[in-house]
Amino acid sequence: MSYYDIDAILTDAEKVPCKFELDVPELGYLDNNPAQPLKSGTTIGLPLWLAELLALANRVPSTADEDAKSFVSLNLPPALSNEVMSALKADPRAVPLRDQSHNFYGLGTRMLDLFEEKEICAVLRRTFVTRAADIALHAGKAGATDDMGVGAGEEFLRGLEEWERKLFKKAHDGAKGTKEWMEGVKKH
């Protein structure tokens, strides 16, 4: 992952629920309430670029018997909730992943780095592989008919998150290259 990677930067903007573990007078604006202090126990959705380091930064315990704690504690985002996971287990193809998150798998891998969730990892893998076969089918058709992003192709693309759109483009370009050569060979 490069520092300039646009997709990584956009994935970094995906929000995750964070519970503040202390009062912070200056940060009321994060909860859309600049006049009020941010109270301990408040949960707000913060982008990963903020949430991850707030959760990882250890603050020094104020008393000797207190454990070292972080500023916020993280939770799994709604896109990786039990409901979504159950829906994906039932039928990976029936869920419009893009509605969950534009960077669904990107967000998933970031959360899997922070939480050890073998179950989620397995569901994401199965979802990705199962949907990939569908993507190959649609992209192949689109590439062979020059139907990129119009008609049925567009409808299908709408439900795909970013990794899947990239995959679609690769499969589409491959089919298109072959088709262009096959048509060219006849003319020549």
Partner: protein, 274 residues
């Protein structure tokens, strides 16, 4: 600036390389040997057959100075046999590539097609019935063979029927486009090729499905150059995605293994002290 092409060969490049494949022609005019970087072409004397690179064969065909002899695997019976293998014999895998060519050593024993063989072939080869006698499995004494696909002359008249060579799709399409009159029953060949292409494309699309449970990609043995160029981006994309999704679990698994290994080491150290 980085090369604006995807990694690996793109279809147009594959088709270009395919033009170096050797193919058999029947010359209609005399033509002296031409010295080229890749070696001298054989002198053409009608009606004696000769093997030429595809690009030259096509040029002579267009100038009506030669007819092309289609490779045996491109005949309808051969294509039907391959479709049968793809759909009935082993519906999970791609049909196998041509076996390493053998030739008779004159004493009734088949020998590997050696490197010394050049473009002039056909003589001393036991009537072209090689290959099948040895079955589809590789003969153990072929391990010294230096020639291997895609560098075998697999599109000449001596190529075995019933096997698709590395450049099958490009050769077939090119010949149908420019030498259809030299191919017996060209419309049927065209239809059979479409079927074959579809069956194999479906297998390619499904090639990654075993990745979900930690299995590998489908064995790609026998897949042609054009098929690889078409699907390379997709298959690598899926493999890479699965790798990224499993990266954190994999890392923790390795850590555990390492810890277990260390513990084991400590114990044995203790034992030694005792």
């Amino acid at each position: 600036m980085a090369l604006p092409l995807p990694s690996g060969l793109v279809p147009a490049e594959v088709a270009f390389l395919c033009e170096m494949e050797m193919i058999t022609i029947v010359p209609r005019q005399r033509l002296e040997s031409i010295p080229m970087l890749s070696g001298n072409t054989p002198a053409l004397r009608p009606p004696r057959r000769a093997d030429l690179p595809l690009w030259l064969a096509l040029l002579l065909k267009k100038q009506r100075r030669a007819n092309i002899v289609p490779p045996p695997w491109l005949l309808p019976a051969s294509l039907q046999e391959i479709i049968h293998i793809e759909t009935n014999v082993d519906p999970q895998a791609f049909s196998p590539p041509p076996p390493p060519p053998m030739r008779s050593d004159g004493r009734g024993i088949a020998r590997p097609y050696a490197v010394t063989t050049t473009t002039t072939t056909s003589s001393g080869r036991g009537g072209g019935g090689y290959g099948n006698a040895n079955g589809r499995d590789e003969d153990p004494n072929t391990k010294e063979l230096i020639l291997a696909p895609p560098f075998l002359p697999s599109c000449t008249q001596d190529a075995p029927s019933g096997y698709l060579p590395y450049h099958w799709l490009e050769i077939a399409e090119t010949l149908l486009a420019h030498a259809a009159d030299d191919i017996p029953n060209a419309p049927e060949v065209r239809a059979l090729l479409r079927d074959l292409q579809e069956v194999r494309a479906a297998k390619m699309r499904g090639s990654t499905q075993h990745l979900e449970g930690g299995g590998g990609v489908l064995n790609l043995r026998g897949v042609g150059a054009m098929e690889l160029a078409e699907s390379r981006g997709f298959v690598l994309g899926v493999v890479d995605g699965v790798r990224k999704l499993g990266a954190s679990i994999e890392a923790s698994r390795r850590e555990e293994e390492l810890e277990r290994g260390d513990d084991g080491g400590d114990e044995s150290d203790d034992d030694m002290e005792l």
